[in-house]
Amino acid sequence: MARPGRIKSIWGMVWVHALVWLLVLFALFPVIQVFGISLRPGDQLYSTHLEIIPQGATLDAYRIMFTEKPFFLWLRNSAIVSLGTALIGVALASLGGFALSRYRFKARGAALQGILMTQMFPATMLLLPLYLMMRKFHLVDTLGGVMIAYVATALPFCIWTMKGYYDTIPVDLNEAALIDGCSPLQAFARVTLPLSAPALVITALFSFMTGWSEFMVARVMLTSRELMTLPLGLESLFTTYQTEWANYAAGSLLVSVPVVVLFLVLNRFLISGLTLGSVKG
């Protein structure tokens, strides 16, 4: 008897592969485009050919990014901001999610609703009040300032993910540790946290990505050239789009490759860790 998941006929197999390939082509098309453009020599930037590897392909754009543009400075700034966001985000979300998953307290429902609500307000409009506030605390034009903004951006989703994952872990384990004499914090850190690795990975990845790819807040908050993050740097090439198409393409590949690699490595965790919990708790 055919089991579910096995494809019966050859035709079925062909169909499935055709459909998958169609989707893969759609997903890959822009990536291939950018790759091709990054290899274009200066005189072919406005080529109207569709071939992937252009004639006279050259790595010039990459050389320019590394030697003539402050790429490593942008990279350093982005790395500081993203790693900081991930670290703080994971710490706060793993604690907060635990409270929402394990304890029944008065404000719990309100807290869950509030977390969802933070997503509903157009984030860009928080920018102006946030800017004025940061100015008061002398955080404008500092990497710490944008880091705080990114943590707040990523936090609701991260808390939600953590809470959803804790919900799937049996409560008994944590309680057994408490009966054995652990303090609540010890029980959390030694029993529940290690079991939540997939969700922790998602949370870290999501926070990191928030810092790595955020553009609008950085644009408003960071004004010194020495503090430009990668998105600001790349956009500075883009304002003169007409002339720096190849550099932009090379730059975007350099920026994307690390996170794409992260995603692929963590692929396994993505699927098991993203349970998303339930809206109402």
Partner: protein, 292 residues
């Protein structure tokens, strides 16, 4: 269960660090924004904003473009979600089979999600270029007419939609794959013995079993799409042609940071917030009703 301290106290300490950040960086600016929406703060009253009541709220509804932009925002959200869910769910179902090379396919299909959003958006803008863009080259190579993507409202809107569909379907795919893995095989076996065909099995087993993961994704997806500033803003280069391709959030962004109409923009964003609250309430009600 007996604990030394009350649950509320423990919960408070666990939740406090996150709450402090969210209150300072989200809740406080939000309230400030509500205050601004009641003032006449703009370029002319930059130093001396005064409380003016609901003036701006009244103006929203008399704005000639308002209903058009509002309708377009709804269309934008609905169209994107339909494609995200059909493509994402479809891809998940295909990849959940015993398919040779399915790990490779899965990795490739996650790419649009992995690439930073602003890079994707700017890249698609380049690809929609009339003369040099890859999309038009593709169209002409199969014998179709090239399209001036940023010359008309509908074309610009389509360009942004295509970009956002590309960006959004992997998220649903990943969520659905996770959900599919948790469906017990025995259910399908039983349905098969009862003579249920693949379509019947999908609607009576797969979809109901996926509901707990898909519904939260639908709620989040609605909010994120409705509030998606990046894609429209970057793909249409700040609203080409001539501010015609805006949805609500990009319209607000332009009003605030380009025309310095702070009070007006603040009122508009409170309105956006309220619309989303109503939509999410609606989802909540539907999901609760179905539970009985």
């Amino acid at each position: 269960m007996k604990l030394g301290r009350s649950q509320s106290q423990l919960a408070f300490w666990f939740l406090m660090p996150a709450a402090v950040v969210l209150i300072a960086v989200v809740a406080y600016p939000f309230l400030f924004n509500v205050y601004v929406s009641l003032t006449n703060w703009n370029m002319y009253h930059f130093r001396d904003p005064q409380l003016k009541g609901f003036m701006h709220y009244a103006r929203i509804f008399t704005e000639p473009d308002f209903y058009h932009i509002f309708g377009k925002t709804i269309a934008w959200t609905v169209i994107n979600l339909i494609f995200h869910f059909t493509l994402g769910l479809g891809a998940a179902l295909l990849l959940n089979r015993k398919l040779p090379g399915r790990n490779v396919y899965r990795a490739l299909l996650i790419l649009p999600w992995a690439v930073p959003q602003y890079i994707s958006a700017l890249t698609w803008r380049g690809m929609f270029n009339v003369e040099y863009g890859a999309v038009n080259q593709l169209l002409t190579s199969v014998g179709l007419h090239p399209v001036s993507w940023f010359a008309s409202e509908s074309a610009a809107f389509s360009a942004a939609v295509i970009t956002n569909i590309w960006l959004g379907f992997p998220f649903i795919m990943v969520i659905a794959l996770g959900g599919l893995q948790s469906i017990p095989r025995e259910l399908y076996e039983a349905a098969r013995i009862d003579g249920a065909g693949p379509v019947k099995r999908f609607f009576s087993i797969t979809l109901p079993m996926l509901k707990p993961v898909l519904l939260p994704a639908l709620v989040l997806g609605t909010i994120w799409t409705f509030n998606n500033l990046n894609v429209i803003w970057l793909v249409t280069d700040q609203g080409l042609p001539a501010d015609k391709s805006h949805i609500l959030v990009t319209y607000v962004y332009k009003a605030a940071f380009f025309y310095y109409r702070y009070g007006y923009a603040a009122a508009f964003s409170v309105f956006i917030f309220l619309v989303l609250v109503v939509i999410v309430r609606g989802y909540d009600r539907v999901s609760r009703q179905e539970a009985y």
